[in-house]
């Protein structure tokens, strides 16, 4: 599928010399959900802000739908919707007016049917005449999304949409994102929550210290980089790994009841057969055998650790 957003060698340096983005290259496919993971200060928000026109890039190019964000900013920005990290809304304004205002800013006439559609989509229609200050935190987040969708964007940036919200609301938000994807909207979200990326993203990008460390399909990423653990539970308690079994991939569980073997699922030989044979030869009696797939979180932590090293 064609890329709707193309980011090439994007750099952003501030006056104090801090480099927020260090030559980011990224292509975002139309209709996908891309999750950008990264620790605080990694450059996630700077990347989004630059694409959306809030921050000026130091160098590099960004196109949205083939339109350069600097030279053809009207066409590029018309395609983008942005939901910021903070709940930034005028407290005394009414819901419908603030959504209408956002639509107008993007040059679209005040189409009542279109505004009603967006508000209904986000379960806000009943609250349309409420002042923003009267809404709950979750409802305010929905208003932010409604404002971002008011002009029917083809690309939606969600900057930590579920930061600080409860689990129920988070899952609610994931449903909204899923529906938007069904409608053909390309979604780029930044998040701290690995489970969020795991739950809804098609692809995952990991960003740290202003560099994009990788971008990979979520399933492939977990398959390629995922390590599996085999837990061999024993009937007896050990104080150390038996001498004949010692290897760097094998360790004893903290309670001494199990041997934990880490292996690569993609390796030609996983070593499981040999391990089980060696365990039997050592005279150890098995109680159970359990395998565990490493999570996206483990992969993320490893990547960021490697980058820091």
């Amino acid at each position: 599928m064609a890329n709707i957003v193309e980011i090439t060698d994007l750099r952003k340096s501030y006056k104090d010399g801090f480099q927020a983005l260090k030559g980011v290259n990224l292509g975002i496919e139309e209709g996908e959900i891309l999750a950008l993971l990264g620790p605080n200060g990694a450059g996630k928000t700077t990347l989004i802000s630059t694409v959306c026109g809030i921050t000026m890039p130091t160098s590099g190019t960004v196109t949205v739908g083939g339109h350069d964000i600097l030279h053809d900013y009207r066409a590029a920005r018309s395609m983008i919707g942005l939901v910021p990290q903070e709940i930034n809304l005028e407290p005394f304004e009414r819901v419908i007016n603030t959504v209408r205002f956002s639509r107008g800013l993007f040059g679209k006439s005040s189409d009542d049917a279109a505004i009603e559609k967006v508000l209904r989509q986000l379960s806000l229609w009943d609250k349309k005449d409420n002042q923003i200050r009267e809404l709950s935190g979750g409802m305010k987040r929905r208003v932010l999304i409604a404002k971002a969708l008011a002009h029917d964007p083809r690309v939606l940036f969600l900057d930590e949409p579920t930061a600080g919200v409860d689990v129920e609301l988070r899952k609610d938000m994931w449903q909204i994102v899923g529906k938007l994807k069904e409608d053909g909207v390309t979604i780029i979200l930044t998040t701290h929550y690995i489970e969020e990326a795991e739950a809804i993203a098609d692809r995952v990008g990991v960003i740290a210290h202003g560099e994009l460390l990788l971008v990979e399909e979520k399933a492939k990423l977990m398959a390629h980089m995922g390590q599996k653990e085999l837990e061999v539970q024993l009937t007896e308690t050990l104080t150390e790994v038996p001498k004949n079994l010692r290897s760097e991939d094998l360790e004893l569980s903290s309670d001494g009841h199990a041997l934990i073997y880490t292996y690569d699922t993609n390796a030609e030989r996983t070593g499981i057969t040999k391990l089980l044979a060696d365990v039997a030869a050592e005279g150890l009696v098995l109680r159970d055998v359990v395998t565990r797939q490493s999570s996206l979180e483990d992969i993320f932590v490893n990547l960021v650790k490697e980058d820091a090293a």
């Binding site: 026109g53 809030i54 920005r77 407290p91 107008g104 800013l105 006439s109």
Partner: protein, 253 residues
């Protein structure tokens, strides 16, 4: 040109004005009425005519200018500062609109609000003093130019301000004294020669003089000089705003 965006900003700001109508309209009308009562009726009745005009009527243009200038600045500066303060400014930066369109929306709304207040004060004045307007069209042009130019100035102030204190400090410490010393309540010709010369460095003198000419056909400075002064002030404000958006000063990192 994204006219829909200009209209949206304009209407959004005007709705805010009507939402707070008591604060927006009543406050300036009441304070101006008090000026008429104190300076026009109480003190003015004991003052002889100034430039051939009764003192109560003489201060009408000055009082309208005083209110219009302060309201233009206050409305425009608050209009653009408030989105910065509450964090909704990102919407303007990420929308497909140019700096000119943003300025037209905010400055247009601020100028309209000031114009409405100006006209209400003009109507209020008729309840206190008798006067007629010698050049109604010129009065309208001066009022329009003043509201636009000072709304532009207010817009710059709103961009510059980092907090509410800064938002208030320039109007309080610079603009209000300039307006008071700009001939709102007296003719420049009433001052000693030295202070007449000093007054010529006050840009507000030219505005009030021109505006008063539109009312009573008498002025402290030639009418063309007044027009040139207001044109120059508008040009300077526009240049600063153009530079702000070009460089992103205080708005875009």
């Amino acid at each position: 040109m994204n006219w829909t965006a200009v209209r949206s900003i304009y209407l959004f700001e005007m709705f805010r004005f009507f939402r707070t109508v008591a604060q927006s309209l009543l406050a300036p009308v009441i304070s101006t009425s008090l000026y008429f009562v104190v300076f026009g009726a109480a003190i003015g009745s004991r003052i002889e005519q100034v430039e051939g005009v009764g003192y109560g009527a003489f201060i009408v243009p000055g009082l309208i200018m005083l209110t219009v200038i302060t309201q233009s600045i206050a409305n425009a500066s608050f209009g653009i500062y408030f989105p910065k303060f509450i964090g909704t400014f990102f919407e303007l930066l990420s929308a497909p609109i140019s700096f000119l369109e943003i300025v037209m929306g905010y400055v247009g709304a601020a100028a309209t609000k000031a114009l409405i207040i100006g006209f209400i004060i003009l109507i209020t004045a008729y309840f206190f003093v008798d006067f007629s307007i010698a050049h109604p069209l010129a009065m309208l042009v001066f009022l329009l130019l003043t509201t636009i130019s000072f709304a532009l100035f207010g817009f710059i102030l709103g961009i510059w301000a980092g907090n509410f204190e800064q938002l208030q400090i320039v109007p309080l410490l610079i603009v209000t004294p300039l307006v008071f010393l700009g001939g709102s309540f007296y003719s420049i010709s009433m001052l000693p020669p030295f202070w007449q010369t000093v007054s010529m460095f006050n840009p507000v003198v030219y505005l009030i003089s021109g505006f008063r000419w539109a009312f009573f056909d008498t002025a402290d400075v030639p009418i063309l000089t007044s027009l040139l002064a207001i044109g120059l002030f508008t040009g300077i404000c526009l240049s600063i705003i153009w530079w702000i958006f070009r460089t992103g000063w205080r708005i875009r990192q």
